[in-house]
């Protein structure tokens, strides 16, 4: 899929290069890119960092990746740990390990591990298990997440929101066995909502299921509601169907 030329660049061992337009960029070992970079593939095996903005068709990180600028890519695979200081725009994002970003706008996201976002996270679909920390709004068409750690968001909104208690040990080994598997959120608003182990101030939606371990101050629903016997709901009221 070479689109940006065949000028490949490889760092083996340790080194740094300036920005520019490349075909494939590969860092094996420890490497640093000091300027803005445009590439087809950007691969890090080991530890890599980019000081400027990165635009690449593919970004593949095995180990540690750190980006000080904006990152735009079609596909991003993280196995290990990645930090994007500013915004991350990505079509297909897979995280195994940890990702922290200023903001994320994505199409499809799959998380096995942990995601931290300083501002907002937007995605058409977000699936995964582990934990998430979103300081702003999580605007996700379909959210399906199994909690293996303490998670939080200011606001979650979308079509379908499903947050359940993680079972098994896959994510647990990544996030930590002994943390509280709970979501703390101010507001959840979606057409279809299923929650477990969630503490929320307000849950608003069409069909709502407040599952086991939930503590919700106010539920407003226009369709149906189900509340588990061990869930706590302060007040629940049906509102006129939109």
């Amino acid at each position: 899929m070479a689109q940006n030329g065949t000028n490949n660049m490889k760092i083996a061992g340790e080194g740094s290069v300036g920005g520019g337009t490349y075909g494939d960029v590969t860092i094996n070992g420890a490497g640093r890119v000091t300027g803005d970079i445009t590439s087809d593939d950007f691969r890090i095996n080991g530890a890599g960092s980019a000081d400027g903005n990165v635009a690449s068709l593919l970004i593949d990180i095995n180990g540690t990746g750190s980006f000080n600028g904006k990152v735009e890519t079609k596909e991003m695979n993280i196995k290990g740990d990645a930090t994007v200081k500013q915004g991350l725009g990505v079509s297909d994002l897979k995280v195994k390990g940890r990702l922290s970003a200023g903001g994320i706008a994505a199409n499809i996201v799959d998380v096995r591990g942990e995601v931290r976002v300083k501002a907002n996270l937007e995605a058409e679909t977000l699936t995964g298990e582990g934990a998430f920390h979103v300081d702003g709004t999580m605007n996700v068409g379909t959210l399906d997440f199994a909690l293996h750690g303490l998670s939080n968001a200011r606001e979650i909104g979308g079509d379908k929101v499903r947050v359940t208690l993680g079972r098994g040990f896959v994510g647990a080994s990544l996030v930590g066995l002994f943390t509280d598997r709970r979501l703390n959120v101010e507001t959840v608003e979606a057409d279809e909502i299923v929650l477990e182990n969630t503490t929320a101030r307000v849950v608003r939606g069409g069909n709502v299921r407040i599952g086991s371990g939930c503590d919700v101050a106010l539920v407003e629903y226009s369709g149906t509601i189900e509340v588990a016997s061990d869930a706590r709901v302060g007040e629940s009221r049906q509102v006129a169907k939109a």
Partner: protein
Amino acid sequence: MEPGMISKKDLLQQTGISYGQLYRWKRKNLIPEEWFVRKSTFTGQETFFPRDKILARVERILSMKDGDASLDDIAEAVSPDLGGISLTLAEVAEQGIASDAAISVFRSAHPDAAALVFGELVSLYVVDKLLGTGDVSLEEARSVLATLEEQFGAFEGSDGDLVCVRKMGVSVCGLITSSAELRLETSARLVARVNLQESVEALSARL
């Protein structure tokens, strides 16, 4: 509640749209981020919208959807990507985007300009609008044009207003975010306040 604002809940009930639709439109940038205003209420933080703007926008999206337009088409219509557009001054006059008076203001600032890119077109369009209403003089129009050209970029992707203030015959113009409230000393007068996003939309409808 503040006049001119509508809560998210009331918006949904009034328009019949669902949370899923509202969030989807937000993701598609059909509704600008600045319109989501968070305010404290007795039930905690709630989201409000500028009533007239959001109702007009929802109606427009729904009517376009009825015409089978895709969300991407609608996004294109409400916040068009016109970065690549370029018109000559003759075309600007022909298509009636700006009057001769506005064009001559632009010409005096850029004697050699042959083609105008989108940002310049917007600036010219705003200048024309102000001149057309008689709110500003030709001299002021020049400074409006210069201000827009210098500062327009700073408001890219967010919503800004051009404001023009006059005091004792001296005028000053500048850009502020559109949700900002402006208070002036009593001897100064707000001559004009033009929303840039609306101008972009009005302009793109003509192109």
